[in-house]
């Protein structure tokens, strides 16, 4: 694994008009690593995810995946290279059942393509994968409920499920535990730990307990720049981080 | 309205069953025209004319024959598809005679459908009496035995118009202006070729077709007329495309003469107002014709329906149908069609003949211009039509390419 890093951000810049959201972001994520990105609100974390997954074009810099340049690729091409993500604001197929959501999520990588000549039920592995995921998410009992009618915590679980059901090698989770209770968060972390085994994980998270529990490495984003990057211990002791995190969050760091 | 018709028909049928004294055979005539929606005015006007005409036919040629005509109304919203369904309904209702007039597209669809139906179910044959759709093809390349046209086709009208033009030596430059669809194209073709043939000294300075119903502002066109020095405009336009054109001419002080097909419509004249004075129309009728019976009928119709008496072909078609039934001694479509083909009837306006070669009526034609001081005038405008030219029926016959594919 001494080859190119799983994900490399090299001087990524993003402007919305005159507003500089990302100024010069450099992050390296090794294959198989669990990497957390933290930072105060408005630091540009979600925007960074949008850059990596091709939702918005970058204004400058390069992004590469296992040495392959993915800077100007579309979101679906990047997915096909093995990058899947979840969203901070729940983004599901509200009128489809939980099961169908997961089936759509797995379709691409189970070889269903745009097929119109075969019934969906004919794809055994696809169904099995979706059922397996249901089980893993603890949503088996809600199998046939439209996603839009799920309880919030279940929706968050499904949101994570959609990101991982396709079996991508690099998974980006944007605040997966936002709004969850302590108990739900613990379940979610266990799930994330389990599914990210042997994969690369990039996670944006506000819950520092989760971050320090999960992450192998942490990058701290502030005001559009990476102000620190390293192991949890390194980051914890970094003075720049401490000054960026005045107040409530700083207490968690200590 | 239609409900009343149905109730009335049922009532009449009941009466016919009960009273042995008046066991008339009822011959049903089905009018397929727009009765709802934007064009319903035309359909309703047609209905009034046919009620009137059937009354005259029953009291005239059919009196004492033990047969009488009866009208049923079918709403087609000028849609060819809906017309076909209504044709089915009419056939179910036992109608043997279909009348229709609004829309050449409907006419083509009906003519074709009637021909196919009569081939497939000869024992339930129907005749199609067309009282106002004037596309020349219907009695030429697309003619069929079961279709009879009572109005003059657009070429015949153009021919009559050029007959009139020949006498107007003070006109020098014409501009041919039409709506961009099959009828407009037919008028344009006829105008250009006939003007060239019959008054070679008359110069065609412009030929133009405009998108149908899309133009709101006609002043640029008037400017083009003026720039071309046209003193005469020949146009087959109707509805707003005619009234807006004439209005724009009045607004911009254009003095040329409008020779039209469809100026006779009440909506157009009331929209144009007094500015329409002098504009002329060509057709088979105008309501100020000085003939006692016409005068009587016009007054009677206006009094009864508070509407302008203008669809003369409703009268001629019902009269000819009645005469044909009398002549054939049967109300079956086949013998009636044979009787009608080539029949001549002495109409109040002179003898008229249903030409045997293509089932096109040959009848006197008129050019009339809007003028003040007429006996019958339009409701909001003190203008009425004054006759300025008459062409005899025999002179209106034109060469036809019709070869009936299905003559019995």
């Amino acid at each position: 694994m001494s080859a190119a890093p799983a994900l490399l951000l090299d001087g990524v810049v993003k402007n919305f008009g005159l507003v500089h959201v990302l100024r010069d972001v450099n992050i390296t994520v090794a294959a198989g690593e669990r990497h957390a990105i933290i930072g105060p609100n408005g630091a540009g974390k979600s925007t960074l995810f949008h850059m990596i997954t091709g939702r918005f074009p970058v204004s400058g810099g390069r992004i590469s995946l296992h040495g392959r340049d993915i800077t100007d690729m579309s979101s679906y091409d990047i997915y096909r290279l093995g990058v899947a993500r979840s969203f901070q604001v729940t983004s599901l197929f509200n009128r489809l059942s939980v099961f169908e959501n997961l089936r759509v999520g797995a379709m691409r990588n189970k070889g269903a393509g745009h097929a119109w000549w075969r019934l969906l039920d004919g794809y055994g592995p696809l169904r099995e994968r979706a059922e397996e995921m249901l089980e893993m998410l603890g949503l088996t009992a809600r199998r046939n409920v439209p996603a839009g009618l799920l309880a919030y915590a279940d929706q968050r679980a499904l949101e994570i499920g959609l990101a991982i059901v396709g079996g991508a090698t690099t998974i980006l989770l944007d605040e997966p535990t936002a709004g969850m209770s302590r108990h739900e968060t613990e379940r979610a972390v266990a799930l994330i730990r389990r599914v990210s085994e042997g994969r690369t994980l990039v996670i944006v998270e506000h819950d520092m307990g989760v971050v320090f529990d999960l992450a192998d490495r942490i990058s701290v984003l502030d005001n559009g720049r990476v102000i620190a990057s390293g192991t949890p211990a390194d980051v914890r002791g970094d003075p720049a981080v401490r000054s960026a995190y005045l107040g409530a969050a700083a207490e968690v760091l200590t | 309205m239609r409900l009343r018709t149905i109730v009335a028909a049922a009532f009449a049928a009941l009466m016919a069953c009960n009273s042995t004294a008046r066991a008339d055979e009822v011959i049903r005539v089905g009018l397929i025209d727009p009765m709802s929606g934007a064009f319903s005015v035309a359909g309703r006007l047609g209905e009034q004319h046919f009620r009137f005409a059937i009354e005259k036919a029953n009291a005239g040629p059919l009196a004492g024959t033990g047969k009488r005509l009866d009208l049923t109304i079918y709403d087609n919203e000028v849609s060819p598809e809906k017309s076909l369904t209504m044709l089915r309904k009419a056939i179910d209702d036992g109608v043997h005679y279909i009348v229709q007039g609004n829309g050449s597209n409907v006419a083509f669809a009906l003519s074709d459908a009637v021909a196919k139906h009569n081939k497939r179910e000869p024992n339930r044959a129907v005749l199609y009496l067309n009282y106002a759709a004037v596309d020349p093809s219907l009695t030429n390349d697309k003619c069929n035995w079961w279709h009879f046209r009572f109005d003059a086709d657009s070429d015949m009208k153009m021919h009559a118009l050029t007959d009139y033009l020949v006498t107007q030596k003070d006109l020098h430059k014409v501009y041919v202006f039409n709506m961009d669809y099959s009828f407009g194209a037919a008028v344009e073709r006829g105008a250009v070729s006939m003007v060239k043939d019959r008054r070679p000294d008359l110069q065609v300075v412009g030929v133009e077709r405009i998108p149908m119903g899309k133009i709101k502002d006609f002043t640029p066109y008037i400017a083009k007329f003026q720039a071309a020095g046209a003193d005469t405009i020949i146009t087959g336009n109707w509805g707003p495309d005619l009234s807006l054109l004439v209005k724009a001419a009045a607004d911009t002080g254009y003095k040329g003469r409008f020779l039209t097909y469809y100026l006779g419509s009440r909506d157009v004249v009331s929209e144009i107002g007094i500015a329409g004075k002098g504009a002329a129309i060509v057709g088979v009728f105008y309501d100020n014709i000085d003939q006692p019976l016409v005068r009587q009928w016009t007054t009677e119709f206006e009094k009864r329906y508070d509407n302008t008496f203008g669809s003369w072909t409703a009268i001629t078609s019902m009269m000819m149908l009645a005469e044909s039934i009398k002549k054939a001694g049967s109300s079956e479509p086949l013998p009636v069609s044979k009787a009608m083909s080539g029949l001549t009837w002495d109409s109040p306006l002179g003898p008229i003949t249903m030409r045997g070669e293509n089932h096109q009526m040959l009848q006197p034609m008129f050019v009339a211009a809007l003028d003040t001081g007429m006996a019958h005038v339009f409701p909001d405008v003190p203008l009425g039509f004054r006759g300025i030219g008459r062409i005899e029926g025999k002179d209106t016959a034109m060469a036809t390419t019709c070869q009936f594919p299905n003559a019995p």
Binding site: T53, R55, S74, Y76, Y79, R85, F87, L92, F93, R95, L96, E100, V104, M107, R108, N109, G113, H114, A115, W116, R118, L119, L120, Y123, L162, G166 | R2, L3, R4, M35, S36, G37, R44, D75, S79, P80, E81, K82, T85, R88, K89, I91, D92, S104, N105, A107, F108, A109, D112, K116, K119, D180, Y181, S182, F183, A185, R304, Y305, D306, N307
Partner: protein, 413 residues
């Protein structure tokens, strides 16, 4: 169990289709049945986009029309001696539809929602205008026609008679409906649902939503074209009116009234609206006003359409709980009927008054009840009925709604 509940509706549909022309045997009825079948296929193809794909296509009639024109040209060729049996024409129509939609889709499938709706409208307007400018191909206003019995006979049938044509149309309509149903259960069909719900997320699951839209658009065009082929067989004429905005508006009406949320909804809508257009029109000339009123009432109070209402009550009927709803529904009924009668009275009197002003004889009656719109009585009676009815509905409806919520909520939990 599941197979039965899935196949039973189809078995019923097949039986209905086979039996219908023998129950309603008149020429008019058969013609109505054919129209319903064609409208059903067209509405289903439209709902592939609107209900299942979330694409509002204001120009869908273009594909019906172009498919129909191609089928008609081939029918003419058959009349001229080519060996093309009439029952094969819908395939030709489908081919025309899919090719046209393949081209049109290139332009429209990148857009979403409002922009999609508008670009389809613009495209349709442009195509309609073009069709009228090319009389040699499309026959101008009068369209082009052919004889469906002119093709080679199959087993001695020439398909000229309305009944034979009906069976051809019915066969294809059933086949098309079946195929469209199966389509909803293919990966592409499911993807179109996903794109409808959340196009952006589809992009992060490895699919190009524009491409999904494009493929679905083509399939929808294919079935619209097939409906056009059926129409060519039925009418033996096809005109530019088939392409225009009226046809596109009608299919929207059908699909919505039937219900966009279920597969069978558009079929229900096609049947109901065709009946309304053809039958209501023979009873009252106010039918266009009623059309508009029904539309608004449905949008306001039954946005799920007829099938939505049925769907909401079906589980209750099955579980036998529907009986408990009857009393509270019955309390709404008098008010509803009164408001309905009042509205009809007002409209019919208004139309009567207009035709009297237009020269019809005065007096008259509405559905047998004497009513002279030039006097005050019918107006006052109608107005009072409407007002009282609406007041009653406003008073009783909330309770009926509460009852429904209670009972339906009970079964769901």
């Amino acid at each position: 169990m599941r197979t039965i509940s899935h196949t039973l509706p189809w078995v019923i549909a097949v039986v209905l289709v086979l039996v219908a022309p023998h129950v309603f045997g008149s020429g008019f009825s058969i013609s109505l049945l054919c129209r319903m079948a064609i409208a059903a296929v067209f509405a289903l193809s439209f709902n592939m986009l609107m209900g299942q794909g979330g694409m509002m296509d204001f120009g869908h009639a273009v594909y019906l029309g172009l498919g129909g024109f191609l089928a008609m040209h081939v029918m003419r060729a058959a009349d001229a001696g080519w060996w093309i049996p009439t029952p094969a024409l819908p395939i030709v129509g489908a081919f025309g539809g899919v090719v046209a939609a393949g081209l049109g889709g290139l332009v429209v499938s990148r857009s979403t929602r409002t922009a999609f709706a508008m670009i389809t409208m613009g495209l349709a307007e442009a195509i309609v205008a073009l069709v009228l400018m090319l009389p040699r191909l499309f026959g101008g206003e009068e369209g082009i026609n052919a004889d469906r019995s002119g093709g080679p006979p199959i087993f001695g049938f020439d398909f000229g008679s309305p009944l034979e044509a009906y069976y051809v149309i019915a066969f294809w309509a059933l086949a098309a409906a079946g195929l469209m149903f199966l389509f909803t259960r293919t990966p592409l069909g499911r993807l179109s649902n996903a794109v409808r719900d959340n196009a952006e997320r589809v992009g992060f699951l490895g699919y190009n939503p524009g491409r999904v839209r494009y493929f679905v658009y083509m399939f929808s065009g294919l079935f619209a074209g097939l409906a056009g082929g059926l129409q060519a067989i039925n009418d033996e004429i096809i005109t530019s009116a088939n392409i225009g905005s009226n046809a596109a508006g009608a299919v929207l009406l059908m699909t919505f009234i039937g219900g966009v949320g279920t597969f069978a909804g558009p079929v229900v809508g096609a049947v109901v609206v065709t009946l309304m257009q053809m039958a209501l029109g023979t009873v009252t000339e106010a039918w266009q006003l009623y059309n508009g009123l029904i539309f608004i009432v449905m949008v306001l109070w039954a946005p799920g359409g007829i099938s939505g209402i049925i769907l909401a009550h079906a589980p209750l009927v099955r579980s036998g709980q529907a009986r408990r709803l009857v009393p509270s529904y019955l309390t709404v009924l008098p008010g509803f009927v009164a408001a309905l009668l009042g509205t009809i009275g007002l409209s019919e009197n208004a139309y009567r008054l207009q035709s009297i002003r237009g020269g019809s004889p005065p007096g008259g009656s509405i559905f047998g009840i004497p009513s002279d719109p030039q006097t005050m009585t019918p107006w006052l009676v109608s107005l009072a009925l409407t007002a009282v009815g609406l007041w009653l509905v406003a008073r009783t409806a909330p309770r009926a709604r509460a009852a429904w919520l209670e009972i339906a909520g009970g079964t769901q939990a």
